[in-house]
Amino acid sequence: MAILEVRDMAKTYHRVEALSSINLTFNKQEVTVIIGPNGSGKSTLLKLLAGIEQPSSGKVIGLGQTAYLPQQLSLLPWRTVRQNLQLPGDISGLAPAKSQTKITKLLKDFDLLEFESLYPHQLSGGMQQKLSLLRTVLTNRPMMLLDEPFAALDAITRLEMQRWLLELKRRTGCGIICVTHDIREAVFLADTIYVLSPRPGTIKQKFKVPSKPADQAKLETQLYNLLVNKP
């Protein structure tokens, strides 16, 4: 079932066309990965889906259904873990007691309660990202928008976080739209992959990710060839 739809959307910055003729549908509880070369408008697309920026033409149906996670700095450095998780509640005006109960349950469910009074700089990169993702869950929006969520992490933590993200998705039932440069990450996480062309970004191709590892390996090669323009 589609909860977010993009119709004939384009975005132009100062006469430079960043995105053109984008038509997309995102389904509930699905992981969609958007992949493309540098400057193809991946992050712009995510910001348009989040309602942070407005399209120059076309429209997004289902705005307000998405919770956005920026590329790097996401936790507020001056708030403890618990206070950071409280942010969506503070903004939406949720009663503090109700908000606290939800936060405690979530932290307990994911074995993170012991970190509640620490500041972000006291946590590892992976832990910071876990908490940012939990905060995204607390917005109660059914679709997460993640802009290269694991780009700053080392290879081992990145693998651990990819598994953790799928576990989070399984437990919360949210859908995910994720932008990444990493082909392996895209194939590991996604149900559907969209490949963007170089600027102006358009949807070059759509792939459904197969379940068999051998087919996934073939898809990785296919994506690699597509991104480096090999026949």
Partner: protein
């Protein structure tokens, strides 16, 4: 131990300079009335402590009241010019021009308008301290990380919520940088005001002592002023640490 090691070079230099000063002043190469020895200055300070204390309280009152008003006005003005581009365009040139007016020239006028009491000195302190705080707050608000602003937009936060939850805390480090500059200016402002005309305060006390050739008293007053400045700066640093426990050390 690490802290001690940090301060050791500065402490050693100060002690060495004091020893050189003491030896030179006692060598007979210069009259004691022209350059008193550090030990004599200390003795003068101890002997005149009750008189100096009265003047110190007056200067402290002018400094602290002026600084507190400057913090309130400067921070409010910083937020206002950040929020409104129209007000920014109107106020910014005025703010810059206000800093080009020599306060030493303005001080006598303030005395004529407001008398010899506390008020003109407080105004001078405010004029000295207001600008660094205002600019620091405005710069801090401007330099908020765009990713955090995007996050707030995606959470559908209002302008006020973004200011409260993200931009004001982001501006705290630069605010404290401005406040430290202003704190060092504050006592200077009060002394300048007192120098021009006052009934009480370290500025007028120093001026009277200088006119009476009591150079040791002038030095004793300078020692008090330096100590006060350092104490106020330390207080600001402590408040800074207390109000930003999240900053990495």
């Amino acid at each position: 131990m690490k802290k001690l090691r940090e301060f050791a070079p500065a402490a050693l230099l100060i002690i060495s300079l004091l020893i050189i000063w003491q030896v030179y002043a006692r060598s007979g190469l210069i009259a004691n009335s022209t350059l008193p020895a550090p030990v004599d200055i200390w003795k003068t300070l101890i002997n005149s402590r009750s008189v100096i204390w009265g003047h110190t309280l007056q200067t402290m009152a002018e400094t602290v009241i002026g600084l507190l008003i400057a913090i309130c006005l400067g921070a409010a003005c910083g937020v206002i010019i950040f929020l409104s581009s129209r007000l920014r365009k109107a106020l910014y040139p005025l703010l810059v021009v206000s800093q080009t007016v020599p306060l030493i020239a303005l001080a006598p006028l303030l005395l004529i308008w407001f008398g010899f009491d506390l008020l003109p000195k407080v105004i001078i302190v405010v004029l000295y301290c207001f600008y660094p705080i205002c600019i620091a707050v405005e710069t801090g608000l401007e330099s908020t990380d765009n990713q955090l602003i995007d996050l707030m937009k995606s959470l559908k936060a209002s302008r006020w919520q973004t200011l409260r939850y993200v931009q004001l805390p982001s501006a705290l480090p630069t605010f404290f940088s401005g406040l430290k500059i202003s704190t060092t200016y504050a006592i200077t402002g009060a002394i300048v005001g007192e120098y021009v005309g006052a009934y009480k305060g370290l500025g007028i006390y120093m001026e009277t002592a200088a006119h009476s050739d009591a150079i040791d008293v002038v030095f004793a007053a300078i020692l008090v002023i330096v100590s006060l400045s350092l104490l106020m700066l330390c207080a600001v640093i402590l408040i800074e640490k207390w109000s930003m426990p999240w900053r990495q050390t």
